[in-house]
C-alpha cells in the first residue's frame, strides 16, 4: 500500500481486496465496541461526564496560552526542562540534541502519536541512534516498517500468525524449533527481549495523554507498564506532547481519564495511569536524573484559530474509528497518515494541508456513529462537511456536483429538473429496476447499481401526502 493520504482511493481498494487484513479486521474493532458499550452501561453518569469533558476541553482551548504558561512554570518548578517546537523539524532537532547531550546510543520509547506525526524515529535513527518501540503493538509494526493502523491498537491489522512469522524472522538468535501455542508465548518472548532494552537504554521517550497546569505533571496511560519502565529506568526522560494536551487541574484530568479508558478499551481504568512530575528527588532510589518536556505546535495553533478548533478536543481514545463503518471496512493504513478514521479525516487536512488530504473527509457515510460515541462530543460530521466544502471550493470540485449545487439553490429549477430526470430515468429503467451504467455517473455505477426512479419525485409525493391524496 503506497504512502500518503493522496492515495486514499487506491489504498482503500487494496485494503478491501486484502484477505489477511479483512480477517484481522473481522472481530477486533467490533470487540472494542462491545467492551465500550458494557463499560458505559456500568457508568450511569457517563453522559454527564461527556458534557463535562467537552466543557473542560473547550475552556482549556479558549485559554490555551494561559494554561500552557502555567504548566511551564509549574513543570520548571518541579525541575523539568521545558522546550517549545513550532514544527516537526524543530521538535526532532530538540529531541536529537537532548539525546546527544545524554551521550545516548539506545533510546526506548513508549507509545506516542505525536512522535509518529513528527517522524521522530526516522530522524533519531538517521543520527545513528537505536530506537526501540516498547508498546507491544508498536514494537510489532516498527519491525515491519509500518505505521500504526489504529491509535490505541496499532497492530490491529495483524493476526497472531503474522506476528509469529515476524518474531521467527526477527529473533533469529532464538531456537528455531520453539513453539508458540498462543499469544502468551509471543508476549513472553517480546517481554524478555524488550526488558533487556529497558535496562540498557540511555534515554526514554514517552508521549503524554495530558499535561496538568496545576502541578506541571505529564500523564501517560498504558496497560502494559512499558511507559513506566521507559520513564523510570533510563537516566533521561523526554516527554513529547502537543500543545492541546494541557488540562487545568488534577480534577479535570480525572474527568477525562474516566472517559478515556471506557471509550478506548471499555475498561473502567487503564492498568497504569502515571503522573510524572520532574526528575528524581533528593533521596529517591529510582527515576530519571533529567526530565525534558517538548511542547509541539506543528499546525495546531492554525487549527485553533480556524473552524476546526473542536477537533483539538480529541483525547485519542479511538472510539470514533472503532464505530466507523468505513474504518471497519478498510483499516487504518488506507488513510495514509498517522491518524485514521473520522478524527483522522478531520485532523489530517488540518495538519498536513487540505491539498494532501482532500479525500479523507469524503471517506464517511455521515452516519454519525463517531459523534454519538466521542467522549468529548467533537462534531465530526460537521467538521468533515466543512473540509468537503473547503475542498470543493479550493479545487473547483467535480462539475456535476457544481451543477447540482447551482440547481439546489434554485428550488423551481431544482424541482423541475428532478421531475424531468425522474420521468426520463423511470421510463428507461423501470423494467430492469436499476442502472448498471449511466453517463456522467460512473463514479457511482462503477461500484453499485443506481436504483431507477419509480415515478414521482419525493417532493411530489410529499405535497400529495400533505394534501391527503391517496397513493
Amino acid at each position: 500500500m503506497s504512502a500518503g493520504p493522496r492515495d486514499f482511493k487506491a489504498n482503500a481498494a487494496t485494503a478491501i481486496a486484502d484477505a489477511g487484513l479483512q480477517r484481522a479486521l473481522a472481530g477486533l474493532p467490533g470487540g472494542l465496541v462491545a467492551q465500550r458499550t458494557a463499560a458505559v452501561a456500568r457508568c450511569p453518569e457517563f453522559e454527564a461526564l461527556r458534557d463535562q469533558g467537552r466543557d473542560i476541553r473547550d475552556h482549556t482551548l479558549a485559554n490555551l496560552d494561559l494554561y500552557l504558561e502555567q504548566f511551564e512554570t509549574n513543570a520548571k518548578h518541579a525541575g523539568s526542562h521545558v522546550h517549545w517546537a513550532a514544527t516537526a523539524t524543530e521538535a526532532c532537532k530538540i529531541i536529537a540534541d537532548i539525546c546527544a547531550f545524554a551521550n545516548a546510543e539506545l533510546v526506548v520509547k513508549g507509545k506516542s502519536m505525536v512522535s509518529e506525526e513528527i517522524g521522530l524515529n526516522a530522524h533519531l535513527q538517521r543520527g545513528g541512534l537505536e530506537v526501540v518501540e516498547t508498546d507491544l503493538g508498536e514494537y510489532i509494526i516498527q519491525n515491519r516498517g509500518e505505521t500504526p493502523s489504529h491509535i490505541i491498537a496499532p497492530a490491529i491489522h495483524l493476526t497472531q500468525a503474522d506476528v509469529e512469522a515476524d518474531f521467527r524472522r526477527l529473533h533469529d538468535h532464538l531456537q528455531k524449533a520453539r513453539v508458540f501455542h498462543d499469544p502468551a508465548d509471543l508476549v513472553a518472548e517480546a517481554r524478555a527481549i524488550l526488558r533487556e532494552k529497558f535496562l540498557a537504554a540511555d534515554v526514554g521517550i514517552t508521549g503524554a495523554n495530558f499535561l496538568i497546569s496545576e502541578t506541571g505533571s505529564s500523564i501517560i496511560v498504558t496497560n502494559e507498564g512499558n511507559g513506566d519502565l521507559t520513564q523510570i529506568l533510563p537516566k533521561t526522560h523526554i516527554v513529547v506532547a502537543s500543545i492541546e494536551k494541557v488540562v487545568p487541574t488534577l480534577n479535570d484530568a480525572a474527568t477525562l481519564l474516566k472517559l478515556l479508558a471506557r471509550s478506548a478499551t471499555g475498561q473502567d481504568m487503564t492498568a497504569y495511569t502515571t503522573f510524572a512530575t520532574g526528575p528524581r528527588r533528593a533521596g529517591d532510589l529510582d527515576g530519571p536524573e533529567a526530565c525534558h518536556i517538548v511542547i509541539v505546535d506543528n499546525g495546531r495553533s492554525e487549527m485553533l484559530a480556524g473552524d476546526m478548533r473542536e477537533a483539538l478536543r480529541c483525547i485519542r481514545c479511538g472510539a470514533c474509528m472503532n464505530h466507523c463503518p468505513v474504518y471497519n471496512a478498510i483499516g487504518g493504513h488506507a488513510y495514509g497518515w498517522v491518524y485514521p478514521g473520522p478524527i483522522g479525516a478531520v485532523l489530517t487536512p488540518g495538519l498536513l494541508g487540505l491539498e494532501q488530504a482532500a479525500h479523507l473527509p469524503n471517506a464517511s457515510t455521515f452516519c454519525g456513529a463517531c459523534e454519538t460515541v466521542c467522549p468529548v462530543k467533537i462534531p465530526l460530521v460537521k467538521l468533515m462537511r466543512g473540509w468537503r466544502t473547503a475542498g470543493h471550493e479550493c479545487n473547483g470540485g467535480a462539475w456535476p456536483l457544481a451543477a447540482w449545487s447551482f440547481a439546489a439553490r434554485r428550488p423551481r429549477l431544482y424541482h423541475g429538473s428532478a421531475r424531468f430526470a425522474a420521468a426520463i430515468l423511470g421510463a428507461i429503467g423501470r423494467s430492469s429496476g436499476a442502472f448498471h451504467w449511466l453517463p456522467f455517473a460512473r463514479g457511482w455505477t462503477r461500484h453499485r447499481d443506481l436504483a431507477a426512479p419509480q415515478g414521482r419525485t419525493f417532493q411530489q409525493l410529499w405535497s400529495e401526502t400533505k394534501r391527503g391524496v391517496p397513493r
Binding site: 503493538g137 505533571s217 487545568p248 488534577l250 480525572a254 492554525e302
Partner: protein, 221 residues
C-alpha cells in the same frame, strides 16, 4: 524563540474573549481545583468502599487479602507467595511501618532498595485506594520506589482500609493533603490490575512488561 512565537499565535487565535477576564477565569479555575469534585464517583456509601474496591480489583484479576491488623501482613504475604509458587524474598523501600513488622517469623526476607531486574517480588504501600475503579494510588519516594511496581513479576501492595475513598477526586484530595496544593511526588502511579496487553490478536495476556500478578493486602484495623 519558538516559545514566544507559539504562545503569540495561540493568543491571537483565542483573543476574542478579552484579556483580563480570561486571566481571572483561569486563575479561579486553578484555585478552585482543590474543592471541585466530579459527578457520582461513589455511588456507594463509605462503609461499602472497601468491598467495592475489592470487587473491582478482583475483576481485574488482582488477588485481594483482608487482614485485621498490620501485624498480620507478613503471614498473609507469605501465604500468598507460597500459593502462587513465588520465592519468599521481597524487595521493598524504606517504609518504617512495613520494616517494623515480623517478617522473619513469617519466613519472608526483605531486601531494601529500588527494584532490580533480578527481583521476583516487589512490596509497596499505597497512599490511597479508589473504590469505584479498584485503583491503587502509589506515591514514589525512597520509602516507596516506583520501580517496585514495574520490574518484579509479582507486585504486592499494602493499603490501610481507611485510605480507600470513593472516587479519583477524593484520592487527589489525599495527595494534596500529603504533598501540598499544586505539589506532586515525582511519580504518582494509579494502578488498576496487573500489566496486560491485547495487542496480539486482541486476546488479553497478563504480564506484558510489568507484573504478571498483583496482590493487594487491605488492613482493616
Amino acid at each position: 524563540m519558538s516559545r514566544d512565537a507559539i504562545l503569540a499565535k495561540v493568543r491571537d487565535a483565542v483573543s476574542g474573549a478579552g484579556g483580563t477576564e480570561r486571566v481571572t477565569a483561569v486563575h479561579e479555575r486553578l484555585e478552585e481545583a482543590a474543592r471541585a469534585t466530579g459527578p457520582g464517583a461513589a455511588r456507594h456509601s463509605m462503609a461499602e468502599w472497601p468491598g467495592q474496591f475489592q470487587t473491582a480489583l478482583e475483576h481485574q484479576t488482582a488477588a485481594v487479602i483482608r487482614v485485621a491488623k498490620a501485624a498480620d501482613i507478613p503471614q498473609a504475604v507469605a501465604g500468598y507467595l507460597s500459593s502462587v509458587g513465588a520465592a519468599a524474598t521481597l524487595r521493598a523501600g524504606s517504609d518504617r511501618a512495613l520494616a517494623s513488622l515480623s517478617w522473619t517469623e513469617a519466613g519472608v526476607s526483605i531486601q531494601p532498595g529500588a527494584a532490580t531486574a533480578a527481583d521476583a517480588v516487589g512490596l509497596s504501600v499505597a497512599l490511597a485506594g479508589i473504590a469505584e475503579t479498584g485503583t491503587l494510588v502509589l506515591a514514589s519516594s525512597a520509602e516507596n520506589p516506583a520501580s517496585l511496581a514495574f520490574l518484579p513479576e509479582t507486585h504486592i501492595v499494602v493499603i490501610d482500609a481507611a485510605r480507600i475513598v470513593g472516587g479519583m477526586e477524593e484520592a487527589f484530595d489525599l495527595v494534596r493533603g500529603a504533598f501540598g496544593r499544586g505539589q506532586m511526588p515525582r511519580a504518582l502511579n494509579l494502578i488498576s490490575g496487573p500489566s496486560r496487553t491485547g495487542d496480539i490478536g486482541g486476546r488479553i495476556v497478563l504480564g506484558a512488561h510489568g507484573p504478571r500478578r498483583l496482590c493487594v493486602v487491605v488492613v482493616d484495623g
